[in-house]
Structures are given as C-alpha cells and as structure tokens.
Symmetry: C2
Subunit: 262 residues, 2 copies
C-alpha cells in the first residue's frame, strides 16, 4: 500500500487488512468509511447499546465519528471532532474505540465482518453560503416576529392595499398598526416612497396610529433623511439571519431527535 | 452487474457508470455511498450553495440523504426520509436531485468527478437501547430538577448524612426541605427504610418541614403502605428518561449547529 494514496478501497477484506487500513488512515488523517456488521457501545453521560447489524462507520480527518444505520438521516451514534482513536484487533473482531476527553465519552464500534472499507484524502475548500429571498424574509418575520421587534404580532402578509401588496402587516406591543416593507438589498429612495404610499393608502381607513417600517440589510445614507421626513422607520435585518430562522424551522424534527432520542 | 449484488464498489468510475449504479441502487432501495468532487445547491425554506469540493454523499434505502464534508460531525446538507430522486446525466456532470414534497425542498448534488461509489444492501435489525445508572439519574435530576417536580431546587447531592449519603437534597417550591433517594430498579422495603433513616437523621437538625421522596421506575406494591405510614412519598422516574436528559445535554453543540448554522 503506497504511503499516501488518494483513495484506498477494499471489498470483503480480512479483519487484519481492515486493521491496517484503519490505523494508517487515522495516522495520516484521512477520511475513513467502513461498512459491515458491527455492534456499538456508548458510555459517557449515559449508556447505550446497539446490537449487531450492518452499518456505515465514518471517521473524518478531524477525528469526528458517525455511525449510520441503513435508514434515517440521523446518526445512531457519534463523537465530535477531536476524538482519540484506539484500534483493538481480537480473534474474530476489530474494535474501533473513540474517546472524547471532556466530557469523557466512549464509543466502541466492534466489527465482526467488513463488506467495504475506504480511506480517502478529500480536498474540500468550497465555501458554504446561505441565502434568503425577499419572500423568505417575510416568512422569517412571520415565524419569528421578534426579528422585527419585541412584541410585534403579524396579522397578515402580502395584504392587498392599492397600489400593491403590503409585505407584512401587524400590531406592535402598544397596539399601533405596523406596515412592513421588506428589501433583501440596501434600501434606496424607491423603497422609502413605496412604503410611504402604502401608509398613505391605509391611513385614511385606519382607526388607530400607524407605523411604517422599512426592513432591509441596510439603507442608503442619502435616503435616511427622506425616511425620517416621511415619519417612517428603518430596521436592519440580514437575509442570512432569516435563512437561518427558516432552516431552524425545517430542522425541528432533527433537533427533536437529537434532544429526545439519542 | 448482477441484479441484486450485496455489494457494488467502483473506484474512479466514468460518470456513465456512476449514473447506472445510482439508478439501480435507487430502484432497488440500496444504500449508496458516493465520494467525489461535487457542488451542492439547496432550495426550500431558504437557499444555500456549497461550492465544489470533495465530499461524501450518502443516500439511504428510505430515501434520506446526507452530504458530509471531510471535517465536522454535522452533515452540510441533508434531506429526511421519503425524498424522491432524479438523476440527470449531463456532458461532464451527474446531478442527483432529491425532492422533498412537504415542505417543498430540493437538494441537488452535482458531481463532476467520482472517486468511489458503493451500493450496499445492508441488513440491520439490531436493537438500540439506552441505559442510565443510579448516578446518571442523580445527575439528570440536578440538570433538570423538574424530573422530580416543578419548582424543586437541588442544593447538594451525595450529601453525607449519617448513616450514609443522601442522593439528592433540595428545597421544594413552598420552601420545604426535600430528601431524595434514587433507585434504578423497582423500589422495595429496603429503599423505603433507607430513606426513612435519612429523614430521621436530618429531622433533628432541620429548622423547617422535611419531605422524603423515593424516586424509582416503580415501587413494590407491598411496601407502598409502609412508605405512606412513614410519611414518605414516591415519584416514578424512568432511567431511560434520565439517559435522554443527559444525552440532550451532551448534544448541546449539535443542536446549536442545527439551529444556527445550517
């Protein structure tokens, strides 16, 4: 086996071969994928036992560990990065023991048979970026109204108000009506005038005090005074933050799993 | 390629071979592992882009999907079970498109090069069980005192009180002292008498009302009356529930990730 192969794959290997690949991969900080029949024991803040079955073990170059069953998107066992590994070869098994120091936690994956083992040198510098559309920003405010301000209660969104549609419409903590106009980029003159038109259209029919809030990641300096003159307000909101709120919501089930079932 | 291989592995395959393996694996509900250079696009409640890099794609037999980078124990993208897949072969890429219907979410993994692809028929019926020791149960009550009762505030644990050590010691919402004795199995006569001894030892020194609570998954019927005669209480608590509380705590970082960063 060359010292720094980009890729090593063995199918139906002997356990002695498995041990060799695992030890080299750990030493060289490669990513390891091992699939086969294993039992998994966890001890730390609690204890768990996973009886034998065929699963996928992944050990990443940073020492994080995942054990995946053939169904479900959640790992059944895992360790965060920084785990220290010990490999024990016994008569008919190989034990991969991952130790986390603080808090002290142990995951032991004991293979009795390996279908496939792969050690990979993965090169991954690609940037991850999260975006939100204007409509995503509306949705985020509806889901988490405190993004606008504490005590805000949305009543409707995309409400038809000639000359168009109000993005988000609600009531503040003191009972005033709030008309919200959302932009996903720096707000300019047009956004301010648009909000002002909605306010004027609603003012005639509203029975209580009315506030207009322009929501955007930033506002152009030269229109800040126009905004104030028209009696409107500006609230800075990052679309990325909205994207996170929506993703959080999406992950409700995943979070519940991690809280309740593992 | 035989129709129902237990294991298919190709290294440095052509993209046409990759497409063939993926399509067969999806049709036969096998578990797929694909490692190679890919870009990942997500759209749904928000949008994200992961620029090209070498990663591991896992598609499980239930249609769940995970994309793992070579570091970190969290997937960078995922879909829950029940996703529907489309494979698009283009000139120099293969796109695996996972669609979740409700809410509508799309993950597109676009490979430009594949290092290794494996399709596996994994057989996993092993039971997963979570355990907690008596000490784990103490810890769980300290971390989440409402496991005992609402308004309970622990003061100390394993407190020395002749003739031994009180498991958990605290104050209830009305200010009464509470002595807690924990058993991880059905509580019998001995547990009741042990708690009674602690209560008697403390009573002489305590300046306020004292309650004794025996905590266990269940209590033997024939000692229920003894418990009441001695003025003690019983609170049913499942060690498994305690294990979950402790694991939840362990997963704080993981939860935070899923809430905030993806």
């Amino acid at each position: 086996m060359p010292k720094h192969n980009k890729l090593i794959v063995l199918t139906n290997p002997k356990l002695t071969e498995v041990a060799e690949v695992i030890e080299k991969a750990l030493a060289q900080r490669k990513t390891l994928i091992v699939s086969g029949m294993c039992k998994v024991l966890y001890s730390g803040r609690a204890k768990s036992t996973l009886e034998p079955g065929e699963r996928i073990l992944i050990i990443k170059e940073d020492g994080s560990l995942l054990v995946h069953r053939p169904v479900g998107y959640e790992p059944v066992n895992w360790q965060p990065s920084g785990s220290v590994f010990h490999v024990h070869t016994k008569a008919n098994t190989i034990e991969v023991h991952a130790v986390r120091q603080k808090p002290r936690e142990n995951v032991r994956v004991i293979f009795s048979q390996v279908l496939m083992i792969s050690a990979l040198s993965l090169d991954d510098a690609g940037e991850f970026s999260l975006h939100a559309s204007e409509r995503d920003m509306h949705m985020a405010i509806l889901r988490k109204p405190s993004l606008l301000e504490d005590g805000f209660t949305p009543i409707s969104y995309e409400k038809k108000v000639e000359p168009g549609f109000v993005d988000v419409y609600g009531v503040d903590k003191s009972g005033k009506l709030v008309v919200v106009e959302v932009k996903r980029k720096t707000a300019g003159r047009e956004a301010v005038l648009q909000l002002s038109k909605y306010i004027n259209a609603i003012k005639s029919k509203a029975d209580r005090e009315l506030r207009g809030v322009l929501v955007a990641p930033s506002i152009r300096k030269d229109v800040q005074r126009l905004l104030e003159t028209l009696g409107l307000e500006f609230k800075s909101l990052d679309p990325k933050k909205c994207a996170k709120v929506l993703k959080k919501d999406q992950n409700a089930k995943l979070e519940t799993y991690f809280k309740e079932d593992n």
